[in-house]
């Protein structure tokens, strides 16, 4: 240090350069320390476990032996696995489509009414999203109860036969999708409403003068203007829905006879309850490709937004 000072006195130009660089590097050091807790959390609790699960998937049940793709080979031979794949994809895609459509429609209804009433309606419509899903699914479980179903009571009073809501695989699947749509469409509604508000009113007026009817206004003005948000929201939701655990776990726990399992619940059943952690890890890894694709698309969309602005 003393040496540095002495040299500085002799060559002031060098002192300045060193000082400037020190200033810059000090700033980035502080910046790095500010971000350090985040980096540690992400590395230790997200990145490392994600890679560790790939390692786990290559071990045998007692985790003593490396079996390579043994777990995957085992899974490919099981019918349940293919059922889970089918159910997960079917569930996620159907639910996201329904959520997107309902969210889009409801957002337009909310947008149509006078501004000062919108807050109240929006507030009520978002409630399913606010309730912890595990709690609201319990309510649905009770609504679907085999002997006391409040839905069946209404159906019976209308002279219709009751529905075996969770007893029959098809109805159980429909029920799971219904609950997921109930939980998730408010989120779509809020996102689409925000997007709708950002469509300039002049565009609608211009379209009206150009002779567009209400459907053409939505199709040619709203939809293209909202396209980016529509895509981002749907992709977000696709990830969350595909990885969903709470609803299936509480509503059917995979039943009847494993026909409603999705990746998350089946991985839980095998890994935590069945105590076969490698097999559970292998199952959950199958979520990875679709998540990666969706994440990549979201990132591209968000980048595009940045470029438009």
């Amino acid at each position: 240090m003393a040496d540095a000072v002495a040299r500085d006195l002799r060559i002031p130009v060098v002192r300045r350069r060193v000082g400037a660089r020190a200033l810059v590097s000090r700033k980035s050091m502080i910046a790095f320390f500010f971000a350090l807790p985040l980096i540690l959390i992400v590395l230790c609790l997200v990145v490392y476990p994600a890679f560790y699960s790939m390692h786990l998937a290559t071990l045998n049940k007692s985790m003593t032996k490396f079996v390579g793709f043994g777990n995957f080979e085992f899974l490919f031979k099981r019918n349940t696995f293919w059922m889970v794949v089918e159910q997960s994809v079917l569930f996620a895609v159907t639910a996201v489509i329904f959520k997107a459509v309902i969210g889009f429609v409801v957002a337009h209804f909310v947008h149509n009414i006078p501004l000062k009433g919108q807050r109240k309606w929006r507030g009520m419509l978002l409630i399913p999203w606010v309730i912890p899903p595990a709690m609201s699914t319990l309510a649905w479980l009770w609504l679907f109860d085999p002997s006391y179903s409040a839905f069946n009571w209404i159906l019976n009073h209308l002279g219709l036969a009751g529905i075996p809501w969770l007893g029959n695989p098809y109805w159980a699947r429909a029920g799971i999708i219904l609950v997921n749509v109930w939980v998730g469409s408010p989120f779509f509604m809020i996102m689409y409403l925000a997007a709708l508000k950002s469509v300039p009113e002049q565009l609608h007026e211009a379209a009206a003068i150009d002779g567009a009817n209400w459907f053409q206004k939505i199709w040619y003005v709203n939809l293209p203007m909202m396209r980016n948000i529509i895509q981002i929201t749907a992709l977000f939701s696709l990830i969350v829905t595909f990885a969903n655990f709470d609803i299936v776990k509480i509503l059917t726990n995979g039943g009847p006879v494993d026909q409603t399992h999705v990746f998350a619940t089946w991985a839980f059943t095998l890994g935590i309850w069945g105590n076969d952690i490698p097999l559970g890890a292998s199952v959950s890894l199958f979520m990875f490709p679709i998540l990666a694709v969706a994440a990549g698309l979201i990132l591209r969309n968000i980048r595009n937004r940045g470029n438009e602005a």
Binding site: A31, H108, V130, M135
Partner: protein
């Protein structure tokens, strides 16, 4: 010119129906209200039904009466649950976990977001993208390796990490920190650069710029992120289900599902009461801070 206009005016007088545009708008409005009411019924039916059931005795629930109506309302379910030590333990565990997770998350993510949005260092751009990607990794992908890692740490150090409510404090940040950092980056980035330059000239250091300018200015964003963080830690179901089993270590959602459902005996009155009480804290926060809640919800995709 004037005469021509006058002629057209008189000629078409009979064809003009004044107010037809207003009528058309009114019709759209009525239809909108009609469908909104239908959707509100659909969206509010489960919580309302929870509330109806929570006011019933087991006898009334078992009777074949109209399930949508309460004939003998009682608060007995609420009294029973709230005087149950176990249920209060769930509540306490949930509250502790939520408070700790919220505090840790907010400190970590505000600092990181300030650094990533404003100060920049080598690799900070990549890190910001990385934060976004980790926020997309769901807990259902992480719980198995984390479970194994925690068991491994136990074998190594003897610290029992499984089956304690406080392990959740280490788990929930995987969900809250990336998201909160991401939306705080968005909020901080929207603060005009001149504001920190003005503060810099006024003599503020980085920490002062953060605490005396950025945090107060981005307060709405911080509230939104805090609400999100609380909601996530309160509502999570998978992590506690996998990591805690003893009744005294459970948090509310898991506690209600695992202890109130005994085998195939469902005490629906109590379950619904418990579920409603479990949903109450997020709902109350939502009722008071709805605008912040919604801002946080939309920020994830619209900011950044």
């Amino acid at each position: 010119m004037t005469t021509a206009t006058a002629q057209i005016g008189t000629g078409e007088r009979s064809a003009v129906r004044y107010g037809s545009i207003a009528r058309g708008r009114k019709r759209t409005l009525y239809w909108s209200y009609f469908f909104l009411i239908l959707f509100v019924i659909f969206f509010l039916m489960p919580p309302v039904y929870m509330f109806i059931t929570s006011l019933k005795t087991s006898a009334e629930i078992g009777a074949v009466t109209n399930p949508w109506w309460v004939y003998h309302p009682t608060l007995q379910n609420y009294i029973d649950l709230l005087s149950q030590a176990q249920f209060l333990t769930f509540f306490k565990n949930s509250a502790l976990v939520a408070v700790i997770v919220v505090s840790v998350t907010m400190v970590v993510s505000i600092m990181a977001a300030f650094s990533l949005a404003r100060m920049k260092f080598w690799g900070s751009g990549t890190l910001a993208t990385g934060v976004f990607l980790t926020y997309l990794i769901p807990e259902s992908l992480l719980f198995i390796p984390l479970f194994k890692i925690f068991a491994f740490i136990h074998d190594l150090t003897g610290i029992e990490l499984i089956n304690h409510w406080w392990v959740l404090v280490f788990l929930y940040p995987t969900l809250t920190v990336p998201f909160c950092t991401w939306i705080m980056i968005g909020y901080f980035a929207s603060i005009p650069k001149e504001l920190d330059e003005a503060a810099l000239i006024d003599g503020a250091g980085y920490i002062q710029i953060l605490t005396r300018v950025f945090i107060p200015v981005a307060l709405p964003g911080i509230i939104a992120a805090t609400i999100f963080c609380f909601t996530v830690s309160w509502a999570n179901f998978l992590y506690p289900l996998a990591f805690t089993t003893s009744a005294d270590q459970l948090v509310l959602p898991v506690g209600i599902v695992t202890t109130l459902i005994k085998g195939d005996v469902y005490n629906w009155g109590q379950i619904m009461t418990g579920a409603l009480l479990g949903a109450a804290p997020p709902l109350i926060i939502y009722a008071f801070l709805m605008d912040y809640y919604i801002a946080g919800l939309t920020a994830g995709a619209t900011k950044g």
